[in-house]
């Protein structure tokens, strides 16, 4: 396993049992060269298949950071870690060929990557660099409910862009947690009213996943919009029933 003298990731936040790591995926040739050495042959094949520098770099830096994090957590060598993929393309970790006891999700946009991981439960993370040139009208009725649209259009200018990206990342995190990224059902996920009014963290139940409590959390800062969604507990569990 190659040594990494300069890491390109750092702890970002901890939310409940979920750890979130920020990955610097901006141009950094030394880190990218190091990252490539951590990739397995199938990952290097994928790395070669990218036609543009940016996606290639973001993949290498995030995947190698994920490898380093998971290897440290399980106390294993890089060669003992592999990844499988669900039907919908969501990756999962294999340690020595067996499914590992960890949930994780990765997102990147522009110069920022986020890796979220937890001991158990489904989780999704999304990060987006805000682009004030984006024509947000085009996405409204495809992605947002009427109440969400109203919450966005209640703001003007840059504030509207911030609210748009905030709600987008929360929805995308939920959809990714459900393992159904890029499907056409974003508008079927309704964000709670409290979140539309600016609350940063909330629990909700989804019609797509009845009986499960989902925690969602806005992770955005001045540089990017971001959010996580994670499965917190089953409603009919003894702890929940007692409360």
């Amino acid at each position: 396993m190659p040594a990494i003298d300069t890491v390109w990731w750092r702890p970002y936040q901890t939310v409940g049992a979920v750890s979130i790591v920020h990955v610097d995926v901006g141009p950094f040739p030394e880190a990218e060269a190091c990252a490539q050495e951590w990739l397995h042959s199938d990952e290097r094949a994928r790395w070669h298949s990218f036609e543009s520098d940016g996606p290639r770099r973001r993949f290498a830096l995030c995947r190698s950071a994920l490898r380093a994090i998971l290897c440290a957590r399980f106390g294993i060598a890089n060669n003992d870690l592999a990844f499988g993929e669900s039907t919908f393309g969501k990756p999962f970790a294999l340690v020595e060929g067996n499914p590992a006891g960890i949930s994780f999700n990765v997102s990147h946009s522009g110069a920022h990557g986020l890796i979220a991981y937890a001991p158990a439960g489904r989780l999704g993370v999304d990060v987006e660099e805000r682009d004030s040139r984006r024509k947000i009208d085009l996405l409204m009725d495809t992605v947002f409910t009427e109440a969400e649209e109203q919450a966005i259009f209640a703001h003007q200018g840059l504030s509207r862009i911030h609210v748009f990206y905030r709600l987008w990342t929360l929805k995308e995190a939920i959809i990714k947690a459900l393992g159904r990224s890029l499907h056409l059902d974003a508008a079927s996920v309704s964000l709670p009213l409290a979140v539309l009014r600016g609350k940063k963290q909330c629990i909700l139940e989804l019609s797509q996943s009845p009986g499960v409590a989902w925690q969602i959390r806005d992770l955005g800062n001045a540089d990017f919009a971001a959010a996580i969604a994670y499965e917190e507990e089953i409603f009919d569990s003894p702890r929940r029933t007692a409360s």
Binding site: F50, G54, P55, R58, F88, E128, L138, L139, L182, L184
Partner: protein
């Protein structure tokens, strides 16, 4: 008359870019948009552009995933 595939390739060239660079009109429609580096936001917006251009509703039933543009071509040609 241009085929659906040719029209979609033209829309790709006009609407999809990665890091400021157009994907171009020779983009392989069977390739993954996500692997090409297109963001999920751009993919959803592009589906909306295609739906408007061809006057079709792109639904989960006729196009289960937006990641592959050939799915869009098939959904449109299968109307």
């Amino acid at each position: 008359m241009a085929t659906t595939e040719q029209r979609i390739k033209q829309l790709v060239a006009e609407n999809l870019e990665v890091d400021g660079k157009s994907l171009g009109s020779d983009f392989d429609l069977s390739a993954s948009l996500a692997d090409a580096g297109v963001s999920s936001m751009d993919i959803v917006a592009f589906a909306k552009v295609v739906a408007s251009e061809f006057d079709v509703a792109i639904t989960r039933e006729n196009c289960p995933t937006l990641n592959c543009l050939q799915d869009l071509v098939d959904a449109i040609d299968g109307r």
